[in-house]
Structure formats: C-alpha cells, structure tokens
Amino acid sequence: MRSPIGPLEFTRRTWVRLWLLAVFVFLYAPIVVLIAFSFNKSKRNIVWTGFTTDWYGRALNNSSLIEAFTNSIMIALVSTVLSVILGGLLALGLYRFRFPGKSVLDGVSALPIVIPEICMGVALLVFYARVGWPTGLPWPLNLSQVIIGHVVFSFPFVAVVVRARMEGFDRSLEEASKDLGASEWQTFWNVTLPYMKTGLIAGGLLAMTLSLDDFVITFFTSGPETITFPVKIYSMVRQSVTPEVNAASTILIVFTVALTLVALKFQKPSEGVG
C-alpha cells in the first residue's frame, strides 16, 4: 500500500508532476524534434518521409561548415584557458590582498556578467574597427577578436566560482608551507593551487559552455572572413531551412553535452579530496 502523501512531498502531487512534465516537454520537444528531423529524408522539414543519414554526410562534406565548427572549438578552447588564468588570478588577488580601489575592481569585473550582451558586442565591434585590428592573419590568430570578446564575458564567471571556492580555504596552510621553507611559488604550486583545482575546473567548464553557447558576441566580433559555427548556422537559417542545419546543430549539441558530461565525471573524484 502506498503511504499517504506527506505535506512536503510535492513531487508526489499530481499537479506538480503534470507541471514538471509540461515544463520538460516544453524544454525538450523542440530539441528532440530538431534531432529527429536531421534523419528525415524529405528536404522540407515538415513531414516524416523516411530515415536517412544523408544530411550528416552533406554537413560533414560542407567544408565551410567544418571550418566554422573547427573555429568555434578553437575559440572555446583558447578562451577557456585564458579565462581560467585571468579569472583564477583575479580571484586569488581579491581574496588575498587589501588595496585601494578593490571595490571598484570588484564591481567592474562583475559588469560583463550583467550588462546586455549587445552593448558589449557593439562596443567591441567599434573598438576593433577603429583600432584597425589586423585582419587576414593566419589561423588561429584570425580568431583573436572573437576569443578576446569571449574572455571578457567568461573570466568574471570563473573569478566568481573560484572565489566561492576560496572562501573555505585555511590560510594557515600557506603559512605553514612558508614556515617550512617553501618559497612563494612552491607554496602556490603545492598548497594553494591543488585546493583551487575544483573551482578552476568548474569555472573552466562554465567558461567553455558560455563560449560554445554564445551567439551575440561572436556575431559582432567575427570579421567578414572568419566564419564561426553560430554565425554560419545563422546565415543558413536566414537563407533556407534544410535538414542539413538540423544535422549540423545535432553534431554541436552532442558534442557540447558529451564534453560537459565527461568534464562533470572527471570533476567528481576530486570533490572528495578538496
């Protein structure tokens, strides 16, 4: 016999269950449909006419799509590394030191998180145009504009995550290390950094997701000759909607989700250590 529903067991109430179901259908139906129709034979995305993987073949043979994809991955990787370095250092500096203008730096570093992306996008667009940022650089330097933009909005997130992690840090460990004769650098490398690791991984994960998820900054900062994945998809969507777009999108979805799940798995064991 089922026990009666306790007053706080909301998940056992029918209306709550229906609500959750409706919300998850709302969140997932579009993505599931998008993936399903990447396997559809018909070019017109509407009626199911049979299973095919042709669109994947087409997407994988579309050299500009592949180039766009590689560029986006490259941008995500480089901006993640830079964001982790900048954000981690900033978090440590804010955690460790007292200095004039600290609250100003704290506030300004939070700004890229809160202001509308479009404002940042147009500002960088104008900045690059006026500075005369060199174009026509060899790969991957031609991606520098986009990478810089991604770092601007990613590293403040890393700093927030790492600072939250540092809250629980016992500074006497650092002092002990120095008392035992370790240098500033050895202390950082052997004591502080291992403690920060969880925060750095979580922050890096966030930075990578933000980079792969971004459209607006990429749209405004990528010059005419650098193709990135979202911008490529955007122009494909504006021209005509074919299952090829679905196939390409599916590849990116699978890629990001797999990446994040792997990273989460990788992060789990270290939680116990820290």
Binding site: L20, L111, V152, E184
Partner: protein, 303 residues
C-alpha cells in the same frame, strides 16, 4: 588579508592581467561608445565628439521611445511567465527524493548547454504554420470535433481546423525568451529554496495554515532573494535580446536590440546606435540599482 604593499609584485601578478583585460577590452570600448553618443558624424566614417545631446534627443523621440516601452513590456512579461513556470519546478526539485534531485537538476541545465541560436532555430520548427504545435492543436481539434459529432455540437467548431499564426509575431518572441531563459530562473530559485529551513514550512502547516497560504506567506517570502536573482538574470538579457526577435518575430516585433544592431551593422548611424545602447545600459543599471536598494532595505529590516 594582507596589504598589497607587503608583496607588490605578487599582488600585481594576480591583479594586473584581469585589470588590463577589463580596461582595454571592456572599459575602453564602452567608453568609446559613450563618447560616440555625444558626437556627430563628420564625413562617412569620422565621428567628432561635440558634446551634443541631439543623439539622445533623437533616441527619445516617440518612435524609439515606443520601442523602449515595448521592449520593456516584452521583457517584463517574459520574466513574469518564467517566474510562474519556474517556481513549482524549483520547489518540486527541492523537495524531491534525493536520488532524483541530481537528475532533475541536470534535466533543467541540459538545454542551457545547447547553443542559443540552435534552440531558437528549434523553436521555429515547433511554431510555424505547419509546425508541430499547430499539428498538435489540430489533432486535439479533430478529436474534440469527433467527440462532439454524436451530440450534434460539431457545428460550433467550423468546417476545418485553421492553423494558428504562432510564428513571426510578439507571442512567438515571448515564448522564445521564456524557452531560452527558463533555466536561468529555475537555478537561483532552486539554490535559494534548497537553503530554506523546512521546519518553518512544517510549522506553518502544523499551525493550520493552508498549503496555499503557507506557499505565499512562508515559502515565497523566504525565497525572495532567489526570486530577485532569477528576475535579474532573465530580465536583463531579455531587455537586450535581438536574436530571438529577429528569428521568431514578425515585422512589428522589432525590439530595441534589433534597432541597435541595425544602426551599427547596416544603417551605420553610429551616434544614434551608441545613444540607444547607452539608454539600454542605463535601464539595466536602474534594474540593478533597484535590486541593490531592495537588498539594503531588507538587510536593515533584518537588523
């Protein structure tokens, strides 16, 4: 905490890279735009700072002012819908048996790992004339008609199902914003509700308050910081949205973001675009200031 003078070089190594990056690639570009907004065009590309207010005056003319009001309205509406939809979800995850919690949270976050453009594109297939939502409604319509036929009431429903115009209008834009930003509302709510002292909820119920009264007078009040974080996280990106209105909206769904984008990329009226961007930024700052003011007031009330 130590004074930076004790180890100035260590201090600089920590702070300088981020400070440099923020100054060069964030503050200077934004400052540039700020100066454009008080400048005038001279020749095809040059802009001279003349401390004019004419760009702001133009940006505040009825045509753009209406656009601001409309953007504000759409952002408020989407944020409100997000809040109403997300609250039961966050509450349910919070009080779910612990073995399901991780899974439910993952299900909420997972769409957030999918590129925003792809999700917006996925919405098109759902909403268009021959899309899946219309097919679904059509199927329900046919079923209802089939059920009503024996009773002789099928005449009430018209001859055949007319697909609804779901795409390329303001409703589609609101749905798109809710779809894209819903996880942003669920997560802060969940984080806040998770910390909530359950005995307070139990006490309220034990003392005879109804579930509904407990919900509004205990749970909602305790979750206020989470509600406000969620509102800020959805409202600000909704204010600046241009992709969603561009792809899902119709000719009358232009939002302020679309106009800014056009000034910078096509119309090339940089001073006007700059003035519009800064008005949008000021709106954002007002929202943030309201939040800070509210937090300070709450703190005072607690003390």
């Amino acid at each position: 905490m130590e004074n930076w003078r004790q180890q100035p070089w260590v201090f600089l190594t920590f702070i300088a890279p981020a400070a440099f990056w923020l100054l060069l690639f964030f503050l200077i570009p934004l400052g540039w735009i700020w100066f454009f907004a008080i400048g005038e065009r001279e020749g095809p590309v040059d802009i001279v700072v003349t401390w004019t207010m004419s760009n702001y005056a133009e940006a505040l003319q009825p045509i753009y002012l209406q656009l601001f009001l409309k953007t504000l309205w759409i952002a408020v509406l989407s944020t409100a819908i997000c809040l109403v939809v997300a609250f039961p979800v966050a509450l349910a995850i919070c009080f779910a048996p612990s073995r399901y919690k991780g899974l439910l949270l993952l299900l909420v976050i997972l769409p957030f790992w999918t590129n925003m453009l792809i999700r917006t594109y996925a919405m098109i297939a759902m909403l268009r004339q021959n899309g899946f939502l219309n097919d679904g409604i059509g199927a329900i319509w046919t079923a209802v008609k089939f059920l009503l036929t024996p009773v002789g009431l099928d005449g009430l429903m018209g001859e055949r199902f007319e697909p609804l115009a779901l795409l390329y209008n303001n409703t589609a834009v609101v749905m798109g914003i809710v779809y894209i930003y819903l996880p942003f509302m669920v997560l802060p709510l969940y984080a806040n509700l998770e910390k909530l002292d359950r005995s307070l909820v139990e006490a309220s119920l034990d003392l005879g308050a109804s579930q509904i009264r407990t919900f509004f007078e205990v749970i909602v009040k305790l979750a206020k910081p989470g509600i406000i974080s969620g509102i800020i996280l959805v409202f600000i990106p909704a204010l600046g949205t241009f992709l969603i209105s561009d792809l899902l909206g119709g000719p009358d769904s232009q939002l302020i973001g679309n106009v800014i984008e056009r000034q910078f990329r096509a119309a090339n009226n940089l001073p006007l675009g700059a003035a519009l961007s800064f008005l949008l930024l000021y709106l954002t700052f007002i929202a943030l200031a309201l939040r800070a003011w509210y937090a300070a007031r709450e703190e005072k009330a607690d003390a």
